[in-house]
């Protein structure tokens, strides 16, 4: 479990660095959390609040490996695109320009996360083209869980919070691997530890 946590740590650290560069500001990162959540209890973890979710399928050597989700509360999403686009109104509605900006940020963060974890594990993981939704967070997560390859009653979520105090932006980078992918992660990490 420690090794898996380290995997999330390295991925999130790289994502935090790229976000920090994008915003030209400091980004603090929480300790990565690993949670096993029964699907019936998903609502106590992710509620119906409106949020922007940029979603990528894990591809590469494992064709359907699970999902990477960049979760940004609606408020933070406006702050984030305002910072990028040089705007100031915190209460404006999100438009197409914001959507492209959010997709771009998500893309950069997910790529950084996957590059770092893939390098550690020694195999290729690529993000699919991104999909964006700005809607009820629970509804989006539920839709992803329903279309996972492995039929499951529990999901494992690797979640790390990235916070930029200066611009009041709070985001989460969440990895939700398929059970089969998680097995491969564990095997690889065990081998790495044995050989080192």
């Amino acid at each position: 479990m420690d090794a898996i946590q380290e995997l999330g740590n390295i991925g999130a650290a790289h994502a935090a660095t790229t976000l920090s560069q994008l915003l030209s500001s400091t980004v603090e990162m929480s300790v990565p959390k690993i949670k096993t959540v029964d699907i019936a209890q998903l609502a106590s973890y992710i509620g119906e609040e409106s949020a922007a979710l940029v979603v990528f399928e894990l591809q590469g050597e494992i064709p359907h490996g699970g999902y990477i989700i960049i979760y940004i509360s609606r408020k933070s999403a406006v702050q984030l695109t305002n910072t990028m686009l040089g705007l100031t109104d915190p209460d404006r509605p999100l438009n197409e320009m914001d959507e492209s900006a959010l997709l771009e940020v998500g893309n950069i963060m997910a790529s950084a996360f996957l590059d770092a974890t893939a390098e550690l594990l020694g195999f290729v993981m690529l993000p699919s083209p991104p999909a964006l939704t700005i809607d009820m967070a629970h509804a989006a997560m539920q839709s992803l869980i329903a279309q996972m390859q492995d039929e499951i009653d529990e999901v494992m979520l690797f979640s790390t919070e990235l916070v930029c105090e200066e611009h009041k932006i709070d985001s989460d980078i969440i990895m939700m691997p398929e059970t089969s992918t998680l097995k491969i992660f564990v095997e690889r990490l065990e081998n790495l530890m044995k050989s080192s």
């Binding site: 029964d38 699907i39 019936a40 209890q41 998903l42 609502a43 992710i46 509620g47 119906e48 409106s50 979603v55 399928e57 699919s128 083209p129 999909a131 939704t133 700005i134 809607d135 009820m136 967070a137 629970h138 509804a139 989006a140 997560m141 539920q142 839709s143 992803l144 869980i145 329903a146 279309q147 039929e151 009653d153």
Partner: protein, 151 residues
Amino acid sequence: MIGIGEYHIGPESMMAIGLGSCIGLTIYDRDRRIGAMVHIMLPESSGRTDRPGKYADTAVPLLLNKLSEMGCHRSSLVVKMAGGACMFEYFGNNLNIGERNVEKVRAVLTENQIRIAAEEVGGKAGRTVAFYPDEKGKVTVRSADGAAHEI
């Protein structure tokens, strides 16, 4: 609050929050003034029996049987359905689970000669569904922008 794959039967208010491709199915018995609600995630159980509320093909008969055991008559049941959205078109390509959920629920209800009194399904947006058996089986649907309306 009814989580994914869960169900509840009784006279009290019930709610399923943040339905994406999932379905919130409600059945209200006009005579006995009780309701049943289930939060369905997938169309087919493929033989699995441990979580009957999770699948359309097992959830619908489950509720109908439970209500029947309690002495409810089919003729007094009012069935409503909400959910079955497709939030991610890109990933949805050949597996629009929301649509398949809706079709399966409809098919199983038809097999049981029960018609749907009201529904709000499909589209791209998430929904929260609330069910009030104590208010004549009122069902409301709310989207992310917060506006709740009765169906």
